[in-house]
Symmetry: C2
Subunit: 235 residues, 2 copies
């Protein structure tokens, strides 16, 4: 599914750059499914995107169909972005962010999409941090001058960037962070992706909640037989 944003299928309705939205330089750390999806979507929206990877070869085929996305090291990507997306594996996130460079990141908004998945206990994965702490908080503590906003970590990569492809967008995404303005910035980006229902859960400690939600997400994935689902809050 990743990469089919190039079909132009939704471009006329969802890929327009909304009036007044600012074109940004975005740095996306991580070149797996999530990093690729976020990078392609941001580039499709007109932003200047660099995807950061340790292994540019990994992006061989994808690169050919996404020439509007630059490829760089983590440090180059940290320097490029006015806003940074952490799409690295949770277990390697702190290290990846250190490679991106604290001085590169300081003062910037960091959209943290990572999951603290621990694969050592078999499937489904457990979490290497949870309950009274979270990976989002660990990142915020390690980089106190970065404006960490946890978001998008409760859905699969395709739903993240094309929420309207699922139930016409009638479902929820959550954001957590300490900086109100940073959360507004992230909410604007989510709206530009097509998100209709964005729920601010509170400060970065609420990342525990969305990270622990992965436990039921994984079981729902198993029970439903598809990753193309999400929850809608009914009240």
């Amino acid at each position: 599914m990743i990469g089919d944003d190039d079909t132009g299928l939704y471009r006329s309705t969802f890929q327009e750059i909304p009036q007044g939205d600012e074109i940004m330089k975005a740095g996306v750390l991580g070149s797996g499914m999530v990093g690729q999806a976020i990078s392609a979507r941001l580039a499709g929206l007109g932003h200047y995107v660099m995807i950061g990877t340790r292994d540019p070869n990994k992006l061989g085929e994808w690169r050919a169909s996404h020439k509007d996305v630059k490829i760089g090291s983590f440090a180059e990507t940290g320097g490029h972005g006015e806003i940074i997306f952490n799409a690295t594996n949770g277990a390697g996130s702190l290290e990846a962010l250190k490679l991106a460079g604290e001085s590169n990141l300081n003062g910037k908004v960091l959209v943290d999409i990572s999951e603290p998945l621990d694969l050592s206990n078999g499937m489904p994965p457990s979490l290497f941090v949870n309950n009274t702490d979270s990976l989002g908080e660990q990142i915020q503590r390690t980089f106190p001058k970065v404006k960490v906003v946890k978001a998008l970590n409760t859905v699969n990569a395709n739903v993240m960037v094309y929420p309207q492809r699922l139930a016409n967008g009638d479902h929820n995404v959550f954001i957590s962070g300490n900086d109100a303005q940073a959360k507004e910035t992230v909410a604007d980006i989510l709206k530009s992706f097509g998100w209709l229902h964005i729920l601010d859960l509170g400060d970065i400690t609420t990342a525990r909640a969305t990270e622990m939600y992965i436990a039921i997400w994984l079981r729902l994935w198993g029970a439903l037989g598809t990753a193309m689902f999400n929850v809608k809050i009914m009240k």
Copy 2:
């Protein structure tokens, strides 16, 4: 809200005993909000209900308006019920079930509604077991001959027993357990409560998922300002 089932408001549509449903002797362990709600609802549906408590005085006022519910000790309630509901505080559940009596419980379906809440770290509560284990599994391991079905632990007491009062019942409840027939029995009871969308997540290990979900439930409660909400799975 607890107790307003006596108004008869929904009785004509939802409190009818569905054709073919069996009248059961039900034992409800725990006399807090959840135990009261489950007991009153089951009694309203025509079942023979005993509520088990350590402190009958706690039920003073409630008792006066729910004379169709017997009150007993945990042991008496374990003996009374053909099906047992664990509505005790998670921290005291194993002890309460031991008081109910393993020989009383063996071979029976136990609907486990408890949450492993740890209040020692302040608010919101954390969980005293999670991630690679769950309270549902602890109960199943401690009582291997009991058919434990985790259910209803993802919504507040009023939504549990009157799901139709929220969004016309258009939202989900989850069940977890090792015994397929026990899960069918529980699903039938949930349907008699008004549940339309019952999702079987799998064996009792999936109780980890619904117990960990309490983390986001608590944050949603805070963000939404009401406990009258639930999630609907959109796919």
